[in-house]
Structure formats: C-alpha cells, structure tokens
C-alpha cells in the first residue's frame, strides 16, 4: 500500500487541533494559535492540490483507496476518491484557511477553542467526501454537526441557543432515519462497502424506503424546502467564519450524498422520486427567492438565496443528464465560493458597524470603493452572470433540466430573474445611494487580510467562469459512468 495520503488529509487538522488543545490559553498566545491553525490548514490545502495533480482523470474507479479492518467482518475503514469527491475536498481545504484568516475581529473570546472547532470540522468534512463505507460516512457526516453546533451555540449572536437547537433538531431527525437505513442495508446485503454495493446493487423492493430514509437526511442538510427554516436562523446567529463554513462546505455534503448514494445505490428509486425532487426544487427556487427579496437582514437574505441556489443543485442532480449533474457539481463549487464570499463581505461591514440590517447602510461606495467593487463581483456571480462560475453551473443545470422536463426548466428559469432582483436590490440599498448615516463616514476600507481573502475567492470565481475546463474534465468520466450505470439499471428493471 502506498502512503496513506487521504488519511493524512483527514488527520492533519485533528493533529493541529490536539496541538492547540495542549497549549496554554494565554491571551498573547492567541496569535500563535492562529498561526498553528493556519499552518496546518495551508499544508492540508497543498496536499490536496498535490492530490488533484496526481489524480488520474481518465478513469471513474476510485483512487488512493485505503482499506483497513476496523470492526472485523463488520465495518472497514475504507476511503478513496473519484472525480466528484476530489473537487469537494479541495473546496474544503481551500475555504478553511481563509476562514481562519478571517477570524481576526469577529471572535472576541476563546479564540483557541474556536480554532479547534474549525480544525476538527475540517477533518470531518474531508472524511465525508472520501468515505467509501456507509458507516464511516455516517460517522463523519453526523460528527460534522457537533463543531458547527458549538460554533453557533458558543460564539453566536443573541438568539444563539434557539438557533443551535433548531439546527440540531432538524438535522438529528433526518440522521436517525439514515442510520436505520444503513443498518438495514447491512442486513440485506451483508456489507456496507460502497464499492461492493455499487456492484451488487440493492433489491428493488427495498429501494424506495431506503431512498426516502437517505433523502430525509440529505433534504434537511441541503436544505430543501420545506425543511429549510433552520438555515436562516443558523446563519444569522453564527459568527462570520461559522456562516462561511456552513454555507460553503456543510451544505455541500448533502448534494454530494445525493450523487454518491441516492443516485449510486438506489437508481430505480431515484427515478421514481424524481418528480418529488423536481417539485421541491422548483418551490425552493421560486419561494425562497421571493422571500429573499423581502429580507431586512443581510445575512438572512444571503441564507435564503443559498436555499434557492441549492434548489438548482438538487434539480440538476436528478435530471440524470450529463449537463445537469455536471452543472450541479459546478454550481456547488461555485456556490461554495460565492456564498462564502458574500458572507465574508457582510462580515466586513458587520465588524465595523455591528449591524446586519440593510437600512443601516447606504452610499458605501463613496467611502469604501475597493469593498464595493468586490461586493459587486460576488453579487454578479450570485445572480449567474456569464463570465462567472455561477453562470456555468446554472446554465448547465437548466440545460439538463430542459432536456428532461420543459415545465420544470421554465419554472426554474424564473428563479434566475428573481435572483437578479434580490441581490441587485440588496447591493443598491447597501452600496449605492446617498450616504445618510453619519457613522458610516468613518468606516474603513478593506484591510490587507480582508482584501487578500476576498481576492482569493474572486480569482477562482472569475477563472472558472471563463475557463471551467479543469473542473469539468475532472468530473467528466465519473459522471458519465454514473449515468451509464443508472441507465443500465433502469433498463434492466
């Protein structure tokens, strides 16, 4: 066996966290703690880039597999990646260091513990994206909630306890059902190894129920309408770095789960439930866009827009078209970058003015031009302007959806109009107009680290907008094979 590169990716942040745990919590050592965390995550990012370079794009079979017996004859610790997982791993390792740089001002007390939570969470997230055993996946998937729960509950705003429990209640409900489903899969087939399950297939008569059990978990995490109401509350209360991790990475676990497990393990049930997914996705896109239009709180607005954007993702996945699924994956990566950037931009002015209300602001462009330019770029990416990564994802999804179902594509396209309306209106009210609020006149433009973080996010948004080939080439073979597998399964039904 080669060097266990995936395990080291998973473990490295945890080691960093342990290291922090055993250092003394003095006020001056805060900076050291930050450097340690930053160093760990940057190294992790570099490893993941190396992984991408050495990754073989021409095959859809899993690579860098590690398989160790954990509980003999029952669970194996098995990890491995294909073209789909690697992009999510890179997204995780890319966003986390940026988050750590951004915690300058937003977290006042117990910075060290905050960093530990972030590092542990990175470990779990990477684990989710490379787990090849259902039990291992489940453990990582659920464990990822704990740091997030703590981040909201300890470092959150005034209603943090309510939000944290709402978040927990929702996600727990779904997870329990998924656990039951995983146990039943073991009873039915005798294994929880994903690769083996792909080959074996699961008996048609069980598929519907199992699909619904997985769906209940993924739908909450996505979040899909109508189980989305935890997200706006969680975002509003979470500190900026928490919101970024939540929007950029945590939400992507469910989309990834839909592709890897719902489509992969239950092709026939997926076909049966496609109308359900379409309906919920379209409702999510239109309803939450309309709701976003009326928000007075900037973070809530972006949270609702996330629900709408994830609606596109679920729509695209279940079109079972090359363009649809590829579009969904690109949309997830793009949304990871764009929503992270938008939460950070809101965080920047929140740090200065301590208000998330849109009405506090107005006329910012004349005092903080740099900020306004970057904010504009992210707003445009969010509304899916051609030339940004948001366009590529949305366009491919709608193209795929159109092939499968006209009505759905038409309705979802209305969301594109609304998407422009709410984000431009937000931008207009915050950035343009006359500067009325006297306090705003003293506001400072981006400092170096904020400028650095936002530029780091802006660069890939633009690059992949004009040249998405690196992304598409990575996933192309895996997606094609997934579709082929599904169509043969459906045909043999």
């Amino acid at each position: 066996m080669n060097f266990p590169i995936l395990t080291s990716l998973i473990l490295l942040p945890t080691i960093g966290a342990l290291f922090l745990f055993f250092t003394k919590d003095k006020s001056e050592s805060n900076l050291t703690a930050k450097y340690v965390a930053l160093f760990t995550t940057v190294v992790n990012f570099l490893i993941s880039i190396y992984l991408w370079i050495s990754f073989d794009q021409s095959t859809s079979s899993f690579q860098f597999i590690e398989d160790r017996a954990w509980i003999d004859g029952f669970i194996n610790y098995k990890v491995g990646i294909d073209g789909i997982s690697i992009l999510f791993i890179i997204l995780t390792t890319f966003i986390t260091p940026l988050c750590i740089i951004s915690v300058n001002n937003s977290v006042k007390n117990r910075l060290r513990d905050f960093l530990i939570a972030i590092l542990i969470m990175e470990s779990f997230m990477i684990g989710v994206f490379c787990a090849l055993d259902l039990v291992v996946f489940y453990l990582f998937f659920e464990a990822g909630l704990i740091p997030m729960f703590l981040i909201i509950g300890i470092w959150g705003g005034s209603k943090r306890v309510y939000s944290a429990f709402k978040f927990f209640l929702y996600t727990l409900l779904g997870s329990v059902l998924m656990l039951v489903a995983i146990i039943s899969i073991y009873w039915i087939t005798g294994t929880t190894d994903v690769v083996k399950l792909y080959e074996l297939g699961i008996d048609v008569k069980y598929q519907n129920l199992l699909w619904l059990a997985f769906f209940s978990s993924f739908a909450v995490k996505t979040p899909m309408w109508p189980v989305h109401t935890w997200l706006p509350d969680a975002h509003v209360e979470a500190p900026t770095a928490g919101s970024v991790l939540l929007a950029a990475i945590l939400l992507k676990m469910a989309g990834y789960g839909f592709i890897r497990f719902s489509l992969g393990l239950f092709p026939i049930a997926s076909d049966v439930f496609t109308p359900l997914i379409y309906t919920l996705s379209v409702i999510a896109i239109i309803f939450t866009s309309l709701i976003a239009l009326m928000q007075e709180d900037m973070k809530k607005l972006i949270a609702y827009s996330s629900v709408a954007h994830m609606g596109f993702v679920t729509l695209g996945i279940f079109t079972l078209q090359q363009q649809g699924i590829e579009g969904s994956i690109i949309q997830m990566i793009s949304h990871g970058l764009v929503s992270a950037a938008l939460f950070l931009t809101v965080g920047v002015i929140y740090d200065r003015m301590h208000s998330r209300l849109i009405s506090t602001y107005g006329g910012l462009v004349s005092v903080i031009p740099k900020y306004s330019i970057l904010f504009m770029l992210f707003a445009l990416a969010s509304l899916g302007l051609p030339g940004t990564s948001g366009f590529v994802g949305e366009f491919l999804i709608l193209m795929g959806a159109f092939k499968d179902n006209f009505l759905v594509a038409v309705m979802a396209s209305i969301g594109v109009i609304l998407g422009a309306a709410y984000i431009l209106w937000l931008y207009k009210r915050v950035v343009f107009g006359k500067l009325i609020n006297e306090d705003l006149k003293k506001i400072l433009d981006l400092n170096k680290s904020e400028y650095f973080i936002l530029s780091c996010l802006a660069a890939p948004i633009l690059f992949f907008g004009f040249y998405p080939d690196p992304l598409i080439n990575t996933i192309e073979v895996s997606v094609t094979d997934l579709i082929n597998m599904n169509t043969t399964n459906l045909a043999s039904k």
Partner: protein, 637 residues
C-alpha cells in the same frame, strides 16, 4: 488583426478601470479613446475586405464550456453581417469616447466612466462576432451589465439607481426567454453553433413539440423564445419600460448604448437567425405586429414628452419598431440598413442634445429652453441634420432606409404587410411632428429659462463638436452611399452572402408612384405644421390638449405601462414574498415543525410534572384507581 478589434477595448477598459488612479484622468481618457479608435479603423478595414474580397473567417480563440455533447467555444466570426455591426459599434463607440472627454470634464470619476464605455464596447463586440448562441448570450448579458453600470453611473441619484435595476431586471425577463430558446435549440439540434443549427433546420421544420400542454411547431417555439429576448433588449412594447428610464445615465451613454448599439442587438439577433425565422411565418407576423405597435406607440408618447432625452429615447424605441417590422416582412437586409443609418443619426441627435444640455447647465426640459439657435450655431446645425435624417427628408440617410422599409412592407402583399405599411407612413408623420417640435421648442421661439441668462449659454468645446461633425457626415451620406450595397436589388450581387437567408427572394417590383411620394410629402408638410403649432400659434397645442384631457394624460403617462407593472409584478411579488416568509415559513413550517414539536414536548412534560406532587395520598389514590381498573378488566375478560 481581427482579434485586436475585439481585445483592444478590453485592454483599454482594464487599464483605465484598475490603473486609472495611477495613470491619471487625462491619460486614461486618451488611452481608451485611442485604443477604441484603432479598433474602429481596423473594423472599417475588415468591412472593406468583406465588401471587396468576400473575406470570411471563423476564429476559435479558446474552449469555454465542454460538457458531454455540449461544446461551446470563445470565437470570432467575421461575415458580412458581423462586419457591418463591427463598424457600427466601434465607430460610434470611438466617437462617443472622444465626445465624453468634453462632456464628462466636470465629473470626478472619469477613468471609471471610460472603463465602463470600453468594457461595453468589448461585450458588444463579443455579442456580434459570436459563432454560437452561448457566447452571444455572454455578450448579451455583458452589455446589459455595462448598461446597468452606466445608467446608475451617478450612484448618488436615487432615480438613477432605480432605473439601472429596472433596466437589468426587465432585460432579464427577456433573457429568460432567450435562455429557454437556447436550451430548446440544444435539445433539438444537440449543438449551439450557428452553422450546424442553420444546416439542420430543414430536418426539423415539421417537428411538433408538446410544450406546457400545447402542441406547437418546434420552429415557432424557438423563434418565439428568441424573440422574447430580442424584445427585452430592443425595448419593444411590453418590455420597453426600461429604455426611457435609462436616460438617467450620462448622455454619451444614451447615444452609444441606448440608441446606436445595444438596443439594436435584438434586431441583430433576429437577422442573425434569419435561417430559422424564415421557416416560421407565424412568428414573423408576430414580429411585424410587435414592431409596428412599438413604432406607433412610442411615436405617440414622444409627441407630448417634455424631457429632451426622453423624446429621443421614445424615438429610438419607435425606430427599433421599424427595424423589427422590416425583419418581420422578411426584409432583413433593409432592417440592417435602417440599423446602420439609424446608428449615425440617432447618436448624432443624442450627442447634439447632450451639447444642448451642457449649454443649459444640465437642464433637460424643453419648455425651459428656446431661442438659442444663434448662440449654439454648430449644435443647431448638427441637430437639424440629425432631425432631417431621422424624419426621412429626401436624400438624407433616413429617407433611404425608412422608405425602403415601408415599401417592402407594402410589397409583401399580404394583410399584415399593407397594415404595417399604413402604420409605417402614419408613424413617419408623427415622427416628423415630434422631431420638429423638439427643434422648435429648443432652439426657436422665446427664451424660457429663468435660472440661466441667455448670454451664459455657450457652444460646446471642439472635442465635443468633432464627433458631432463626423456623425453628421454619416447621417447625411450613409443612406445614399450604402443603399446599393445593402438593399440593392438591381445588380445581382448579393453583399450579405450566406449571413442572411431569404427563402423566397425579395420582390424586386416597385410600388406605385403615389405610394413612393406619400411619405416624403408628409415629411415635408410636417415642417410648416410643426412650425405653426410650436412657434407661431402656441395656444393651439395647449387648447387641443385641454380639450382631449384623457387622451393627453394617457400619452403623458406613457399609456400607464409603468403603473400597471408596478401593481401586477412588483407589488404582488413583494406581497407574496412577505406572505411566504411570515406565514409559510414562520407560522406553518416553524409553527408545526421545530417550534411546534418543542412546545408540544414542553407542554407534555409540564403535565407529567404535575403527577410528581409528592403527596402520599395522591399516589395511593392513583394506585387504587389503577388496581381497580385492572381488576375490572380481568373480571370482564
């Protein structure tokens, strides 16, 4: 060299936008103007090559989106159609760049302004030189974005911001149709490249589709969806509301974007897709009807407006209607010809009105002007030239193109054709009236401005007059010189080659002589009529309007489109959003979901709490009760 045309404006924009602060205002103005001018000269050279050598080329710059069977490239297609557009776009853009140096001289954000103008030019060039629908869409949204930036350029003005958003959103509604059209094309043809789509068109011409429960011919549906996009961008009736509001932007922007180039993109789209439209007579009729309705509607509104820029904006809207109905009757080349001449005289009129506004220190109301023709001799002359060209005065450019449109509509020989020709002639008359009203009210009669003394109005600097001069040359000669090339049907040489498709060759007959003379006569007599109404006897228009108060209000309020849309779309979606948020998410989902469950459990546990009272006699009583119940059960069983 062709790529230079495309990328010089982009380079100009990047340098001026990001480094404008370092290189200085003047340098960024000069740099952008020079680079765009070079691009214009190169474009003229390319057009010359196309005319003389039938030069055509399709350059692939890079791949863009490659997903499964979808292959989209960044590309540059040079053919007669795009070559003409290249010249229109770059030459007007270059003149507007130069003009802006003078017009924006008091503005603190010059580099930003120039960067937007150049970026717009780049996006527009991407639009016209694309060889596939997706890059066309890129340019399409790109010009929309620049238009948004430039309308809202004076970001402190609340009205400018509102207009900018309105423009973007209304255009998005059009883009919604356009995007669906592209999806449908990909669905049917499996490709989005023009050449492949146009080749395959015959194969699917009889195909029917079930769309939203209706059985529709596939081609009709494609054409319809694409036309929605064209209506949005070209401000046709129903989707026109953004264009008059867009006049909040600086005047050079109105000249470049909202007169000469961007708004003609819809016409360009229809002409570019002529190989598809030719197979859909149904939608071509729709195009004609929408076109002539817009032409008439906008002209009627222009009659009563008092803002100099809004009059010209409605005039643009009306002229775009002419282009559409030319395309609708199958005379795509005539539509392009009118697009070409219109670019010159309308840009001239806008820049001229900018010069007037400049002279009156940002006054736009024509009721507060008048009598200044001696003070602004050059501006006056250029405006007269522009007006003559617009109204179709014999031998000026508008005469050739607009009369050709009316003639072809007449020659079409069917009901829609005759009807369109009739509306066209009447609208031409209205056009002449409102145009001369503008001239007479602005330059003749008494001086009506109380804030500025007449001596203070001054002629614009040379840097503004030079572009006006060049445009007026275009406005005078572009019709006469290019008539044979664009719409000549005598020589047998077809300039457009394969870029425009005619299923049946256009009729080469001539309409009767009385018909040919009708429009020029109306145009000529409208001058004295307008002079009488707006200079000699000013009471008459007032009394006419007071007699027909409802009609007058209807026109002044632009047929109440804005008010209607406010109620139907804006207010209702806000209300719906509020309802979905507060009621659906708040009361229903949260109320029965997490909050409901937690309060239910809390209530249950409170009830259960009460059992733990700690009194022995209560516990004993309950035990007794349970015991007797059990006993009863056992006995009955």
């Amino acid at each position: 060299m062709e790529l230079l045309i495309l990328f010089l404006p982009l380079i100009a924009s990047i340098i001026s936008g990001f480094f404008g602060r370092y290189i200085g205002d003047r340098n960024s103005e000069i740099l952008t103007s020079v680079l765009v001018s070079i691009s214009a000269i190169l474009s003229i050279f390319v057009l010359y090559q196309v005319i003389v050598n039938q030069f055509e080329e399709n350059i692939v710059i890079a791949t863009w989106i490659n997903s499964g069977s979808l292959n989209v490239n960044w590309s540059m297609l040079i053919d007669p159609l795009s070559a003409v557009m290249l010249v229109v776009v770059t030459s007007v853009s270059a003149l507007v760049h130069i003009y802006s140096i003078g017009y924006m001289s008091h503005d603190p954000h010059k580099p930003r302004f120039m960067a937007y103008l150049s970026l717009f030019t780049f996006a527009m060039l991407m639009l016209v030189t694309s060889d596939n629908f997706v890059q066309l869409f890129f340019g399409w949204e790109g010009v929309g974005l620049c238009s948004y930036f430039l309308i809202g350029f004076w970001f402190k003005k609340e009205s400018a911001n509102a207009a900018a958003i309105k423009a973007f959103i209304v255009n998005r509604v059009g883009d919604f149709g356009f995007a669906l059209g592209i999806f449908l094309i990909f669905y049917l043809f499996g490709t989005v490249n023009y050449s492949e789509v146009f080749q395959e068109i015959v194969a699917i011409q009889d195909k029917n589709l079930l769309f939203l429960g209706l059985e529709i011919k596939a081609i009709d549906l494609i054409c319809f969806l694409l036309f929605i996009g064209a209506m949005g961008k070209s401000a046709q009736i129903l989707l026109h509301t953004w264009l008059p509001d867009a006049m909040e932007g600086p005047t050079p922007v109105s000249a470049l974007i909202h007169a000469a180039t961007m708004v003609t993109a819809g016409v360009f789209l229809v002409v570019r897709c002529s190989p598809i439209y030719e197979y859909s007579p149904l939608i071509l009729n729709l195009v004609t009807i929408i076109g002539m309705s817009t032409a008439f509607f906008a002209a009627s509104v222009a009659l009563v407006q008092t803002d100099i820029k809004k009059i010209i904006a409605y005039s643009t809207c009306s002229q775009l209607g002419y282009m559409f109905f030319a395309a609708g009757v199958g005379a795509y080349n005539v539509a392009m010809f009118h697009l070409f001449t219109h670019a010159f005289f309308k840009a001239l009129l806008f820049l001229g009105s900018g010069s007037v506004i400049h002279a009156f220190k940002d006054e736009q109301n024509i009721n507060k002007m008048g009598g200044v023709w001696k003070n602004l001799p050059y501006t006056y002359t250029f405006m007269i030239i522009g007006t003559l060209a617009l109204t179709g005065f014999p031998l000026l450019s508008g005469f050739y193109s607009k009369d050709a449109i009316i003639e072809f509509a007449y020659l079409k020989g069917n009901t829609t054709g005759y009807y369109a020709a009739g509306i066209g002639i009447f609208t031409a008359f209205l056009t002449a009236i409102y145009s001369w009203r503008l001239i007479f009210k602005t330059f003749h009669g008494e001086y009506n401005n109380k804030e500025i003394k007449i001596e203070e109005t001054h002629e614009s600097p040379l840097v503004m007059l030079l572009p006006l001069f060049l445009l007026s040359i275009g406005a005078i000669f572009s019709g006469f010189l290019f008539k044979e090339l664009f719409i000549g049907y005598t020589s047998g040489y077809n300039f457009w080659g394969n870029s425009i498709k005619f299923l049946e060759p256009l009729s080469s007959e001539h309409p009767p002589l009385w018909f040919l003379l009708l429009t020029p006569c109306l145009v000529l007599i409208s001058i004295p009529i307008a002079y009488y109404l707006f200079v000699k006897n000013k009471e008459l228009p007032n009394s006419i309007s007071s007699i027909n108060k409802p009609l007058y209000n209807f026109l002044v309020n632009k047929w109440y489109f804005d008010e209607l849309y406010e109620i139907i779309f804006i207010k209702s979606s806000k209300k719906l959003g509020l309802f979905l948020w507060k009621f659906c998410d708040g009361t229903i989902i949260d109320g029965f979901g997490p909050d409901g469950i937690s309060s239910f459990i809390k209530r249950c546990s409170l009830k259960a709490n009460k059992f733990q009272s700690g009194f022995i006699y209560q516990y004993a009583f309950i035990m007794l009760l349970g015991f007797s119940a059990l006993l009863t059960y056992l006995i009955i069983k």
